[in-house]
Symmetry: C2
DNA sequence: ATCAACTTTGACCATCCAGTCAAGAAGCAT
DNA sequence: ATGCTTCTTGACTGGATGGTCAAAGTTGAT
């Protein structure tokens, strides 16, 4: 009569690594992949466990063997995403050439939105709903990093190494421009329905744009 | 024993104006306003008729007296939105000064996203889900208009009146930049949580950006 | 081979939610 | 006031959906 213990259930308190079996790592991975597909296309409320189960090729109770709830799957997905979300900005080197660094940042963001459009849409969905689940992440980690880099941009501008622009809006503009190609891909595809991928031509355009903007 | 006739129910075929009473116009308006609030914050699947009913101060069956279904409310909202969505681009005057015209277009879009953030989020939600309900609108009306204006921009560029930039990406960039301030307002607010509205400073920044970009 | 722990699932439950209905309340033209 | 139409709503229904459970199947260390 041992109480059934779900592999993910951490006995309260200490949050140690669950020490997962091969099957567990594999199936959790499969579920997250399926859930990403479903959540990014339908939003949290629009997604159903049944859809995710079908997509994953597992039964619904099986999903709930690996994750405590629909919420838990979503949370896990978001957490993993946020982990890498900041990398492109983090990599920006204060000692590098200002214009080169900012252009490279833009390119990394664009590459990311091309390589991970589903992650971008998952994030967009979350923000659109008012960012309820990632509010603290935004208010702390993201904000800190943005403040830091905005400060750097300001210094570069003050030193005359890039044009005088509001550093926050500069960052927002890079987010807007790059994520747009993932988040609004449906619209872009329908407008130029040559079979080209939505990002085609974006890099050249954005390079030109930011070069023009930043050259002192 | 007259069959009950909902005010919105059009007897099949000819789609005449329903000829609405004062109460009908008023309540339909109230419902649409409430639905906009709820749909834009929660997406279609995330919104419930009960929420809309509470927001509108009406009972749920009363909602369904004025609209055939949840879908119908949403459809009506989208239709009204799309009607005005194209106006800023339509107003762009081929005979005006190129740079002034494009800057003015950007400003109109920005004003729109500031004045109607809920509409912007409703639209964004729809596109994020793959634009299922507005596919024909995008493929026909929007596309036609974009093609037309892109052509114009190309001509302007060819004539050396603005810098050489891909006209489609130019339009996409204006959409991305302006709508970002409405759609991602939650994020922007959390990053600079001085009480400023998300659009603060955006106009100056974008004017600078597009002036730099377009000056030949 | 054996057995305990791990994994899988069919059947089921409770809740939520869009939509119905019939009966009553409010408007309004006369 | 009268009587017809338009509005309004409490109570209900059926289907979808997140989540549970007990029993059956599988795995792997010994």
């Amino acid at each position: 009569m041992t109480a059934p213990r779900k592999p993910t259930a951490q006995k309260h308190g200490t949050a140690k690594k669950p020490a997962r079996s091969r099957i567990q790592t594999r199936n959790r991975q499969i579920i997250l992949e399926a859930a990403l597909e479903v959540f990014s296309n339908n939003g949290f409320r629009g997604a159903t466990l049944d859809q995710i189960a079908v997509q994953a090729g597992l039964s619904k109770p099986n999903l709930l063997y690996y994750f405590d709830s629909k919420e838990a799957i979503h949370r896990d997905l978001l957490t993993r995403l946020l982990d890498t979300w900041l990398d492109p900005l983090r990599m920006l080197d204060p000692r590098g050439d200002p214009q080169t660094e900012i252009l490279a940042y833009m390119r990394r963001k664009l590459d990311m939105s091309r390589a991970y459009p589903r992650e971008s849409r998952l994030f967009a969905n979350e923000i659109l709903q008012g960012a309820p689940r990632i509010e603290t992440f935004i208010r702390t980690e993201l904000r800190l990093l943005v403040d830091e880099k905005a400060c750097l941009f300001q210094a570069w501008a003050d030193a005359g190494r890039i044009a005088r622009v509001d550093p926050y809006h500069l960052i927002f503009s890079i987010w807007a421009m790059t994520q747009h190609y993932a988040d609004f891909a449906a619209q872009i595809d329908m407008i130029r329905d040559d079979g080209q991928e939505p990002h085609a031509g974006a890099e050249a355009f954005l390079e030109h744009l930011y070069t023009r903007l930043l050259t002192p």
